[in-house]
Subunit: 413 residues, 2 copies
Amino acid sequence: MTELQKMGAAAKAAAAVLRTAGEKKRAALLEAAKALRGEQTALLRANEEDLAAARATGMKDAMLDRLTLTPARIEAMAQGVEDVAAQRDPVGRVLSGETRPNGLKIEKITVPMGVIGIIFEARPNVTSDAAALCLMAGSAVILRGGKEAIHSNTAIAELLRGACERAGLPRDCVQLVRDTSRASSVEMMGMTGYLDLLIPRGGAGLIRTVVENAKVPVIETGVGNCHVYVDESADIDMAAEIIFNAKTSRPSVCNAIETILVHGKIAEKALPVIAARLAEKHVELRADERARALLPNAVPAEEADWETEFLDYILAVRVVDSLDDAIDHIARYSSGHSECIVTRDLRAAEAFTARVDSAAVYVNASTRFTDGGELGLGAEIGISTQKLHARGPMGLNEIVSYKYVIRGDGQIR
Amino acid sequence: MTELQKMGAAAKAAAAVLRTAGEKKRAALLEAAKALRGEQTALLRANEEDLAAARATGMKDAMLDRLTLTPARIEAMAQGVEDVAAQRDPVGRVLSGETRPNGLKIEKITVPMGVIGIIFEARPNVTSDAAALCLMAGSAVILRGGKEAIHSNTAIAELLRGACERAGLPRDCVQLVRDTSRASSVEMMGMTGYLDLLIPRGGAGLIRTVVENAKVPVIETGVGNCHVYVDESADIDMAAEIIFNAKTSRPSVCNAIETILVHGKIAEKALPVIAARLAEKHVELRADERARALLPNAVPAEEADWETEFLDYILAVRVVDSLDDAIDHIARYSSGHSECIVTRDLRAAEAFTARVDSAAVYVNASTRFTDGGELGLGAEIGISTQKLHARGPMGLNEIVSYKYVIRGDGQIR
């Protein structure tokens, strides 16, 4: 057995206990929150080791910031764990049921996934966020973070393991892969028989690698090439506010927009208003020829711009001739995350919501609402952009499975 | 573009039409049923070509039987298509919804998967069964059957394509891969960007190959190493009837049982009764040492017997010391399909249903009920043995996805 297979076997054993752990899951999370707060100094010290190593390799400031723990960030992690503990247990809900004519009583009941693997990059808070969600959902978790955060992740994982133990659960409900080589990541993707689900959390490169190479079930998350379409009938001020919010309130996240499509009949009036609002935040516009005629400061858009998740103060702009053209553009370039139509026309709204095939489709609202908390689902383990199992934000209820329990008194077929 | 990529692009275009096709889906299915009946002679002729080729290569009788179409089987196919058409449309159901404090109106609505690929073996009826389910679920389908059935499958697929056209839908809602080489199968498994879901239907070898090699989302189906546990408190006659039914009513299907586990305290009384009933169908018993002491005709079980889906009149038998031992055996060897406890003890029933991690867990009923029709889900496209997306029989409602539709009046975050 390899080291990872041993971890897989330990996780399966822990998962068998978690399957019927009831309130112990909540107790473990409350212990974990307490430990995160109580061991703040030790966590900061471990994090400082990671930061020193990162600085020595010349890590960029934005990356360094993501890697950094502060007392406020540790408090936020503890609070996040408590928020998960405050949610309703997603396990054991009866989704549906019936008594069949032959007297069989059928119930469809939510059950834990079993063992969930998470492969993530340089944010140490993912360790506690993801572990808390998996634990509350009754699954054991194997975490494999980036090497940049190994000291921080190890310290956090040890606190969580201790918390499980104090709550009467196996320590191996939470395990961290210490080997942060590429090989461990590849081995995890092939752990058929151990992992019931693997979720990659990180940039487009990581997600593509996992989707292409995994033999275990995967949920593809997070890449957001999102669009706002400004319909012929749009309220121009509303369009400008929604675009400004969806582009600039937090450009680095997946529910920010990357392209706007503006109907030709409203472009002359709308584009200058939209551009003026975006200029407040110095957003670079990359526009097609028709849009550039109305936007003197825009640079020419290239084909690659329609495909790119800029994650920056950059926005692609295209003028389209119709709702159909907008829907076609989205079908071609979208990553299936979130799209919005700004319109006053009921038929346009209905056609857009029926025909656009993305996880979240908005009428007259910012795409920034595609978030577990904002949609009322609680904290999310990721935002699914595939259609199998779960779509959009995956909260506690989206990381469980179900089974059929069937009670009879001797029925045969 | 390869031939398969062209098919993928055509399927995506068809899927965009199907997304809002409403009643045309049902109309296409009724046309298809009519065509299957009307073209019976042509179908039998095409099937005869396959049968002649199969006989020439010395195909075994059981396989030949699966390949054979008869007027009765064609009628059953037509009836199956009509049954699917009679079901409620699984697309457009509102699963949940709420109005958020900020006024956003959120609905979670079922939508089609998009494009579904099916890789299957030598049964031509799968062509119409699977295509009908995909079509009614609003998805375009790319079928890749075995080379043994290529003439039959081509004839059936052409009838379905014509039916789509007559109902005002694109012919490419249904496509059959003509190239039945291994290469086409491997290429299909890698069609990221074209296939939203790939379902293998066939033997354990096919399913393993697809699960190990696919880069697109897959649902693992059908391997059933199912168990009956006879508890200390069981009604022995009930146990014997359930075991007899679950083993012998149709040994070649995935919901038949392969192993029985009998509590040590009841084994002496129960095993002779069970064995006598099974002897009526000449079931070979492969037993562990303790069971063999009570079963003079049994052969010794080997380790491999606990792992094997015999699909035959063979049953492995083990005596266990406790409910815990039975649950541990199932956790170790089961494929996660269907398991049953026969008991009169409420606590044993509750423990078994809570702790056994299979798609269907029975108390006092035959595992043969794990079937879309028997559970009230309608015809199934397969029986999922994984925990992602769907578990157990996958009917129409299990081959759709969902999206969030969010309506606002200018909300920003």
